[in-house]
């Protein structure tokens, strides 16, 4: 049940133009900043938003002319939207009932799905009596019980607290693996995307800017947004051998040879800071000014201004030793072997 979709939606000043494919059993994550068009994409696939252009085919069948109730696409909404007047069991049985399954059989199937998501003892509860994690699982069971040909999830874990999130993410991963159809998942959390998806589609400003598996995207980001997401410093420039010239004339020396337009990336942890101009092996050295200092896990993230804006990670002890505070003039350096260049 493979999906091939080309979605064009125009809405006051915003244009969404996204090509999307998904193979049976594949989990595709749409990742992007707020307002990039992720949820709009999902709503268009589900039929809740009309297309202004393009087409949606699932298994060779055109879907874009069909009403949502005829598409057989299961949706788990961001805040689940469980029907407040129905019990968990009747919420899950709602889908089968709409497909003319007799009441007793629909209830039996619902019971089975709730057992599968581990909610056997909560079937009689109303949605408001369920915890966030439980409600999420009921929503998933409800979407799956109507035997959809494709599954869509909108920020499935965003409404959960940190601990429930970890647990629910692992369970969700199992359920998605067991689902035979294609799955499209929307998230703004890179961790969710990396853990749950086989392939990532990065959307920015209504367009797909990068697609690939987790390894490719984390190693070779192609936009500032992705670079920030995976924690890399990213530049674009022109390579000639191991020298890359950036648009403003600054040159970086890389570990391996490249030719032509390239992206250059290095992790903040590879940046070393010195109070005076260092000499020795680092091939890339430049003067910089500290602009901001913030906490990042166990270390401090230092944002540097100057000829090469970059982020650097240092230990709190080093920061104290160097007297790092906004406005401080220092020297930064990166070893050539830490700097990777790849085709733009």
């Amino acid at each position: 049940m493979s999906l091939a979709a080309q979605l064009v939606i125009k809405r006051d000043g915003f244009t969404l133009d996204v090509d999307l494919t998904a193979e049976p059993g594949e989990v595709v994550a749409l990742l992007g900043p707020n307002g990039a068009g992720k949820t709009t994409t999902l709503r268009a696939l589900a039929g809740l938003l009309p297309l202004d252009g393009g087409r949606i085919t699932l298994d060779g069948v055109r879907l874009d002319g069909l009403a949502p109730e005829q598409r057989r696409i299961g949706v788990v909404f961001q805040d689940y939207l469980l029907f407040p007047h129905l019990s968990a069991l009747d919420n899950v049985a709602f889908g089968p009932r709409c497909r003319r399954v007799p009441r007793a059989e629909a209830r039996r199937r619902a019971q089975e799905w709730l057992t599968r998501v581990g909610l056997t003892e909560h079937v009689r509860k109303k949605p408001r009596q369920l915890s966030g994690g439980q409600a999420q699982r009921v929503a998933l069971a409800r979407a799956l019980a109507s035997e959809p040909r494709m599954l869509l999830l909108d920020e499935p874990l965003a409404a959960l607290d940190a601990r429930t999130r970890l647990e629910t993410r692992a369970q969700l991963r199992g359920h998605l693996a067991a689902f035979p159809g294609a799955t499209v998942l929307v998230t703004h959390d890179p961790l969710d995307a990396l853990m749950l998806a086989d392939r990532l589609v990065i959307i920015e400003d209504g367009r797909v800017v990068q697609t690939g598996d987790a390894a490719t995207i984390t190693a070779q980001p192609r936009t500032d947004y992705v670079a920030r997401l995976v924690g890399l410093n990213l530049y674009r420039g022109h390579a000639d051998g191991t020298t890359v010239t950036l648009p403003d004339g600054f040159t970086l020396v890389t570990g391996a040879e490249q030719q032509g337009e390239v992206f250059v990336a290095f992790p903040p942890s590879a940046v070393a800071l010195y109070p005076t101009r260092p000499d020795g092996s680092p091939r890339n050295t430049w003067p910089a000014t500290v602009t901001t200092v913030s906490r990042q896990g166990d270390s401090l993230r230092i944002d540097l201004g100057g000829p090469l804006p970059a982020a650097a990670d240092v230990t709190p002890a080093a920061a104290v030793h160097l007297g790092l505070e906004p406005g401080r003039e220092i020297w930064a350096s990166v070893k050539a072997t830490e700097v990777r260049a790849y085709e733009a």
């Binding site: 009403a67 109730e69 939207l81 029907f83 709602f94 709409c98 109507s146």
Partner: protein, 198 residues
């Protein structure tokens, strides 16, 4: 009768965008501000034996509404329905459309969605509207006496009986008035407990 006519009307007003919706809404709510006697005259003009619709009804079905029990129902529905329509429309606007979208993705048709999702969600609003509507109909006077007259046993409602009794038997008028007062206060008290406080 108000329920059957009023709930779909409210749905149309709340959910569909169509040209002239403002005008229809104004038309629906006009009996609220219109003196009921004027409403009665309007009904007579439309449904009377020589009225726009009345003449046609009379000729095709031999039906005549004015001065009959059915006429009472029509007059009271005309005056009281705005209460229901406004209450239900408000409830519909307050209800989250996304529940209806969720139902659609599960394969529910529009009718199934309305019956199994929307209606239960707005049930309190519908019930409150129905009670208010009924209470207003109970106290209706002007439109009824104009359109349906005041025939004991056929078109005489309690307020009409009170009016008549006031001229003949003041004690009976007071008793009837007290009954109406108690019923009205009872309804409003029950409404407050059940819906306003909740």
């Amino acid at each position: 009768m108000c329920l059957i006519l009023g709930v779909p009307l409210a749905w149309v007003l709340a959910r569909l965008e169509f040209p002239g919706r403002r005008f229809v809404r104004a038309l629906v709510t006009v009996p609220l501000v219109l003196p009921p006697v004027v409403g009665g005259v309007a009904l007579l003009l439309v449904f009377g034996r020589r009225g726009l619709v009345g003449e046609w009804l009379d000729q095709t079905f031999g039906l005549s509404l004015p001065f009959t029990t059915t006429g009472v129902v029509v007059a009271e529905a005309f005056v009281a329905m705005p209460f229901l329509v406004i209450a239900v429309e408000g409830a519909l606007r307050g209800a989250d459309v996304r529940f209806e979208e969720a139902a659609a993705t599960l394969g529910a048709s529009r009718w199934t969605t309305f019956r199994r999702v929307t209606l239960p969600l707005i049930a309190p609003g519908v019930a409150a509207g129905a009670v208010l509507c009924w209470a207003r109909a109970l106290g209706e006077f002007g439109a009824t006496i104009t359109f349906a007259g005041n025939f004991p046993g056929r078109t005489q409602t309690m307020p009409l009986a009170v009016y008549l009794a006031l001229e003949q038997d003041v004690d009976a008028a007071i008793v009837l008035s007290l009954i109406l007062l108690v019923v009205s206060v009872g309804i409003l008290a029950a409404l407050r407990d059940k819906w306003v406080a909740a």
